[in-house]
């Protein structure tokens, strides 16, 4: 894997504080907020593995914004609203043509613009290959803070966030349930959910945060929002425009390979006790757990 040298990475960030000062514009303190988004099958979807194990049946699937990404969009929008300056929220998504629907929804919620990376050459990419694409477009766009979902609810890898942070050489905080930007905008205090509690973390910006349910209550797109979204700019980026080699993306740029997909072994319906005296049913259940399941 090739990383750009640290120096060029830092340069490629939008600008240093010195350069901000030198620019001397009224909007010099604006923040570039980036939200990473993935379009995934709705949580109601019944997943059916193809008979040959090569993937899932996609007919009739309804696609939505991955639920955790909605928290990311909402947090980006709240941050922008709180700043109340020229700060911008840009949505970045890697996906096929249909992903534009999810992007438009995010724009309707209030994001300013979007970048849609769409190229057949990206197909079959694993988390790392996808992160390489994300990191490249985000670096080219410029960023001060990146919000992502804690995981996409299709493959549930929960890897892209950390990998993007690594490739951009910025800190990450995963599974964020609380976020507060410091007044000077150089750092934030966040809470990260861990087993049985929370870690309160101080993180310097730029940083990448992956969002957990409970962080906020995502808004619905309003009708005027939906109308406006149609006119908001969506930059279409293909592999050529991306400036990454074919070997760095898609299956060729991946470090894991899916061998096969497997359907779930169906659980057999078990013993249901009904029409019994409650006390007798409870006694019988305890006996079964003890003697048959040998679990208690």
């Amino acid at each position: 894997m090739t990383f750009p040298p640290a120096a060029s990475r830092r340069e490629s960030r939008r600008r240093t504080p010195e350069r901000r000062g030198a620019a001397g514009r009224a909007s010099e303190a604006e923040v570039k907020i980036v939200v990473i988004l993935k379009q995934v099958p709705d949580t109601e979807t019944k997943i059916k593995v193809k008979a040959d194990g090569s993937g899932i049946e996609t007919d009739g699937i309804k696609y939505v914004i991955s639920p955790y990404d909605e928290y990311a969009i909402e947090e980006g929008l709240r941050m922008k609203e709180k700043l109340a300056d020229d700060s911008t929220v840009t949505v970045v998504s890697v996906g096929p043509d249909r992903a534009i629907e999810a992007i438009r929804t995010a724009l309707a919620m209030g994001a300013d613009d979007a970048i849609h990376v769409n190229d057949p050459g990206l197909e079959g990419g694993d988390s790392l290959a996808t992160a390489r694409v994300m990191a490249k477009v985000i670096r080219d766009h410029g960023f001060d803070i990146i919000f992502a979902g804690k995981q996409a609810i299709d493959l549930d890898q929960a890897q892209v966030g950390s990998a993007v942070a690594e490739l951009l050489d910025i800190p990450q905080v995963n599974v964020v349930a609380k976020f507060e930007l410091a007044a000077d905008k150089t750092k934030a205090t966040v809470s990260r959910r861990i087993e049985g509690g929370e870690e309160v973390i101080e993180v310097s910006l730029p940083a990448l945060l992956t969002c957990e349910k409970g962080l906020n209550e995502p808004r619905y797109a309003s009708l005027p929002g939906i109308m406006k979204a149609k006119k908001k700019p969506v930059k279409q980026v293909d592999l050529a425009a991306l400036g990454l080699g074919a070997a760095e993306v898609g299956a060729a740029g991946s470090h894991v390979k899916i061998l096969k997909w497997l359907p779930l072994p169906e659980r057999q319906a078990g013993k249901v006790l009904k029409g019994m005296e409650t006390a007798a049913a409870v006694k019988e259940l305890v006996r079964l757990l003890r003697e048959e399941a040998k679990i208690i």
Binding site: T43, V49, D156, L262, L273, I296
Partner: protein
């Protein structure tokens, strides 16, 4: 490439976490098949003593990284583990699919270029290569993967494998590793404990979850009473969380926690597909619901069709009697 299977052992407050011994268990099996050495790395403040336990659990070598800080830090741990992987070149690296393990494994894999599969529920060796099985779509299907890079790296879901057998006659060679105290850009200021003395849902062996039929937050009291008697952690369905009966940290399901206990009680839970996704790998599922047509009964091993408000307190009494015997 060294013939080595490396376990990222996890500790908190100087105590080895249960997942670490589970990783040693499956690590030993994989190492045995490959004719490889099982090793472990443990990082933290005052952790050298843990090498003894890891040695007794089968580690040939334990890499110990001492830090001045008690808390986990992504950047410091990533640097230390990545340096170790580059130097020792293990062929397989195992981590826990815990909040620490997932955070660390993702960053380390991106740095060293490992082929990582997260939240695995089965690992095995086929033709000398590691095959990693993991649930996708929150457990509605599985995929099996292999790494096309080196090392292959897997994070393993807690409660998937039993802990390694401890044999005090075995001991490990202790190798100190360098943990650079660079100035990290993200620092844990404080750790807040929210849950009581029960294990987290993701680590619990027994779970009692309540659904919409609980009707109010106060009614979860009967689930806690049952939980106290059988040592269960209390969870909730999304319907219960969205109705405000329980906090999100208690939610089991596709947009909550994915759990893997030995025994799961679904109380007043109808069994929506999103809920089933989060708990279907439970070894034994018990459903208690008034509605005989609730979909949960299709997935449950045992069920009682009756009013939960009469069933649960009786169940608590019955277990109390049983466990007093």
């Amino acid at each position: 490439m060294a013939n080595e299977v490396l376990v990222l052992a996890e500790q908190r407050d100087g105590n080895l976490k249960k997942i670490s011994l589970e990783l040693m268990g499956i690590g030993a099996e994989l190492a045995g098949k490959l004719g490889a050495d099982l090793t472990a790395v443990v990082i933290g403040n005052g952790v050298e003593g843990l090498a003894k336990t890891l040695g007794a659990a089968g580690a040939r070598k334990v890499y110990v990284g001492e830090t001045s800080e008690k808390n986990y830090n992504t950047e410091i741990y990533t640097q230390a583990v990545s340096d170790l992987i580059k130097q020792a070149q293990p062929q397989i690296v195992l981590a826990g699919a815990t909040s620490l393990g997932k955070d660390l494994a993702g960053r380390v894999a991106a740095r060293v270029g490992a082929g990582l599969a997260t939240d695995c529920t089965e690992l095995r060796i086929e033709n000398g290569k590691l095959v990693m099985r993991r649930p996708v779509y929150s457990g509605k299907a599985y995929v099996e993967l292999e790494s096309t890079a080196s090392p292959a790296m897997a994070s393993v879901r807690p409660n998937t494998y039993g802990p390694a057998a401890q044999d005090a006659s075995r001991s490990a060679e202790v190798v100190k590793i360098d943990v650079k105290a660079a100035t990290p850009r993200a620092v844990v200021k404080e750790t807040l404990k929210i849950a009581g003395d029960k294990p987290d849902l993701t680590e619990a062996e027994i779970i009692v979850s309540g659904g919409r039929a609980m009707k109010a937050a106060e009614n979860f009291k009967i689930l806690h009473e049952l939980g106290d008697v059988i040592g269960a952690t209390v969870g909730a369905s999304r319907a219960a969380v969205d109705s405000g009966y329980a906090p999100h940290s208690m939610q089991v399901g596709q947009t909550g926690k994915v759990v893997n206990p030995k025994l799961y009680f679904a109380v007043g839970i109808s069994g929506a597909i999103q809920h089933l996704a989060g708990m279907r790998t439970s070894k034994v599922i018990v459903a208690i619901n008034k509605d005989p047509d609730a979909p949960i009964f299709q997935k449950a091993d045992y069920g009682i069709v009756d009013d939960l408000y009469t069933v649960v307190p009786l169940l608590t009494q019955e277990f109390k009697k049983l466990l007093a015997e």
